[in-house]
């Protein structure tokens, strides 16, 4: 670091030297040109210059004078005094020649050194110039113009015979610097006071909060009004005292015009302020309308706040939030779709080998003369294969229901009758179960709007769940009742194992009452029941109280007479107002 900064310093020094040399050279050149032009343009000066030159040359030019002296040496030999004088003159002349030569040599040496320095350090010079230009670029162009004007003017002042050199040098240097500045700073003209002020205003606008901006506007309005009133008051007080020489009508008209000016100014300022406030309020309105609409579910709502508005940033940010939410929702649906696709594919991929397994098990079963224990193994494999098959189907269904990808055949049906039918279908299960079933279904029809097939699956799963997890010999209660115009089916049983998880977890997929998973079942029963109930627009809940397990299915009752003997089931109709949480099936 140290060496680097040192070398940079050294470079700057070299650049400075080179730059000074260049300026000196330029000044010299300009001086020479200007002087020669002046000399050439002025005949009087021309003769004087020629005399000067002759004087200089007559004693100065070493070759010419030397030849003259040599040539005349012999002539001067006889005359001693003359010779002495000549010798003296020659001596003087020789001294003069020596001095002139030294002068010329020195000038040449300086010139050559300067040239060498200019060329040798040209790179450093450029760096130095760039540095200078950077510094100068920070000045506004107006100030530069002012400085330049001042320099030119002062140069004019010094433009006498004595000050010529000085002012010429000043001009050359300032011109060179100007060229350099323009060359290096591309935004030479753009960096002006107006531009800077605008930029500052803009940054001020973006930096302050809406509150600050509003207050600033209010205060500036008040300030302008106060200013106008103040000026008017001063003028009104001052004028009558000082315009005494003016005639009455003049004074009157002056007063009237001042009053008119004041009123116009104040009213105009107030109108300006109110218009601005109105614009702001309109923008607020647009924003709030968008927020309301977005809250209502329409994510596509857009506001039309103009870019000049005070609220533009806020509106843009709201639009960005909207885009973000849209994107998130889109990604969510995409993820859901991918999930269903994945499960569909996986279940397809499992079903194909499962088909082979089941088929070959069937072939094995047909095999004659198999020992009993082998038959036992085969039947175990067979049972497990069937179970696997039902799990695959369950997984498939629950994933579709959970993502709302099922098609529903919604119709009005009597939930009591459906329960009866379910018990009829599951007659065998009920009969073989170790439980005592207490079923309480009132005879009055209770109509609900649901998909019968899915609802059957809900109750089937709940009853199977009871059968599998209830304590042997205990009573299981199934009851249907009407509560708050809702049909409520509740299924209660005493669990065989201690329920260690909370009700939320029980309906989660693949969760089973027994943590060690010894019982048969996919662990999807309650999850399927929940998904299907909710897909049909009902509410499903599970509660536990000690070992008591209570599952509740709740549907909004509809008050319409059924068409019991219709040859065809009534066509699917629109659901009545679905309860909250009902997600319309997609796809």
């Amino acid at each position: 670091m140290a060496t680097k900064s040192k070398s940079i310093d050294g470079n700057i020094f070299k650049g400075l030297i080179s730059w000074l040399c260049l300026l000196a050279l330029l000044c010299g050149l300009c001086l020479a040109v200007v002087l020669s032009i002046i000399v050439l343009a002025n005949p009087d000066l021309q003769t004087r210059a020629a005399e000067n030159l002759q004087e200089f040359a007559g004693s100065g030019s070493p070759y010419y004078s030397g030849a003259v002296i040599e040539g005349t040496e012999g002539d001067f030999e006889e005359d001693n005094t003359l010779w002495a004088a000549a010798m003296d003159a020659q001596k003087q002349h020789e001294e003069l020649i020596y001095t002139r030569t030294v002068q010329i040599v020195c000038a040449l040496a300086i010139l050559i050194t300067a040239l060498v320095l200019v060329f040798a350090f040209r790179r450093d010079r450029r760096q130095f110039e760039a540095l200078m230009a950077k510094g100068m670029g920070k000045l506004w162009v107006e100030i530069k113009c002012l400085l330049l004007g001042a320099i030119l003017f002062s140069g004019m002042l010094f433009l006498t015979e004595d000050g010529l050199v000085f002012s010429l040098c000043l001009w050359v240097i300032s011109l060179y610097q100007l060229c350099m500045d323009i060359g290096y700073n591309r935004q030479f003209f753009r960096h002006n006071i107006i531009h800077s002020v605008l930029k500052w205003l803009n940054s001020y606008k973006s930096m302050t909060t809406f509150e600050h901006r509003s207050l600033r506007r209010l205060f500036s309005t008040l300030g302008v009004i106060a200013g106008i009133l103040g000026v008017a008051a001063v003028v009104l007080i001052w004028a009558p005292n000082h315009l005494y020489h003016a005639a009455g009508p003049v004074l009157g008209s002056v007063m009237v015009s001042i009053v008119v000016f004041t009123i116009t100014g104040v009213v105009g300022t107030i109108v300006w302020y109110v218009l601005g406030l109105k614009r702001d309020l309109q923008d607020w309105n647009a924003l709030m309308a968008q927020i309301t609409e977005m809250y209502g579910g329409n994510l596509n709502a857009v506001n039309h706040v103009p870019p000049t508005s005070n609220l533009y940033d806020c509106a843009m940010q709201l639009n960005m939030i909207r885009t973000g939410i849209e994107k998130a929702v889109e990604e969510g649906t995409k993820a859901d779709r991918t999930k269903v696709e994945l499960i569909t594919n996986v279940s397809h991929d499992i079903k194909t080998p499962l088909t082979s397994i089941i088929s070959y098990i069937e072939l094995l079963k047909k095999e004659p003369d198999l020992p009993d224990h082998v038959m036992d193994y085969i039947s175990t494999i067979s049972r497990k294969a069937e179970r696997l098959s039902s799990i695959v189907q369950d997984v498939f269904e629950v994933s579709k229901a959970a993502t709302g990808n099922i098609t529903l055949n919604m119709e009005d049906l009597d939930i009591g009758k459906l329960l009866q039918q379910t018990f009829g279908e599951m007659d065998e299960t009920l009969r073989n179960s170790q439980l005592i079933w207490r079923i309480d279904i009132p005879d009055v029809p209770m109509l609900v709007h649901a998909d019968g097939q899915r609802l059957y699956r809900v109750f089937q799963n709940l009853i199977r769940n009871c059968d599998q997890y209830a304590l042997e010999g205990s009573r299981a209660y199934v009851s249907l009742s009407s509560q708050n115009s809702c049909a409520v089916v509740s299924i209660r049983n005493v669990s065989r194992n201690e329920i260690t998880m909370d009700s939320e977890d029980l309906t989660a997929r693949f969760v089973r009452g027994d943590q060690n998973r010894t019982t048969e079942g996919s662990g999807l029963g309650l999850s399927i029941a929940k998904s299907f109930t909710e897909a049909c627009g009902g509410q499903f809940s599970v509660r536990t109280d000690g070992d008591l397990f209570i599952a509740t299915v709740q549907f909004v009752q509809i008050n319409r007479a059924p068409v019991p003997s219709a040859p065809l089931p009534p066509p699917p109709q629109e659901a009545p107002l679905p309860p909250a949480g009902y997600a319309a099936p997609r796809g």
């Binding site: 194909t352 039918q421 007659d427 059957y456 003997s565 219709a566």
Partner: protein
């Protein structure tokens, strides 16, 4: 089992093991099995050889099952059973509308497939002969109810039903497609007003279903209209 040895069944699936298993099962029933592993070969065999029934997978290389069915249907009239790993109802509808006669989802029970094969062959070959022998019959798909004998035939085989079951079947067979609430069935069969006896009707219905349906858990004929009643689907 008349003339079963002569029946040629074409089994098409890109999974060779499945084809082999199906073939073994069908051959044990006495059928001759032709095998194909893609749609093009299946089309070739179906059009060049004598085939009585086709079991075909939907998703296959070269030519998928549904396109193959459409091409075969243009030229031949024979029962086609579609195999598919998709169990969506819409897939089933598409399969059946493309000209398939039956739809079996994977993983299937080979016994069920064999039963369906038998049913389809019966319907195509012996449709009409036994049923139409008596004029007083109701024919609905593979079911046939003889009103004189009060006997239900499924694929031509008489089904053993109890007296009550027969009455229920007769009621439903006379009105295919119509939905009967359980109370109505009860009052019509037992001639009593129904009171909390629905379960009886339901249990009877379930038993009938087990006797007449190939796959009782996915009935094709005797269906539950949930929350409303029961019906026999019109085929």
């Amino acid at each position: 089992m008349e003339a079963m040895e002569n029946k040629n069944i074409l089994v098409v699936d890109d999974d060779r093991e499945i084809v082999r298993a199906i073939a073994l099962n069908l051959e044990s029933e006495g059928y001759t099995v032709l095998k194909a592993y893609n749609g093009m070969d299946a089309l070739d065999i179906a059009l060049t050889r004598e085939v009585h029934l086709i079991i075909i997978d939907v998703m296959m290389p070269k030519l998928d099952g549904l396109s193959a069915i459409m091409k075969i249907r243009e030229r031949k009239n024979l029962p086609i059973i579609v195999l598919s790993a998709k169990s969506e109802n819409s897939d089933k509808v598409i399969g059946l509308s493309m000209g398939a006669d039956d739809y079996v989802t994977k993983p299937f029970n080979p016994m069920e497939l064999t039963a369906r094969v038998k049913s389809q062959l019966r319907r195509y070959t012996s449709l009409g002969d036994i049923h139409s022998s008596s004029e007083n019959t109701i024919i609905n798909g593979r079911l046939c109810f003889n009103l004189d004998e009060h006997v239900l035939y499924a694929d031509g085989d008489p089904i053993k039903l109890t007296a009550t079951e027969t009455k229920i079947v007769e009621l439903l067979m006379r009105n295919p497609g119509r939905i009967f609430p359980a109370e109505e069935i009860y009052s019509k069969i037992w001639n009593e007003s129904a009171y909390s006896t629905e379960n009886t009707v339901m249990v009877h219905i379930r038993r009938i279903r087990e006797k007449i349906e190939i796959n009782p858990s996915d009935p094709e004929y005797l269906k539950v209209v949930w929350g409303i009643g029961y019906k026999i689907e019109k085929h």
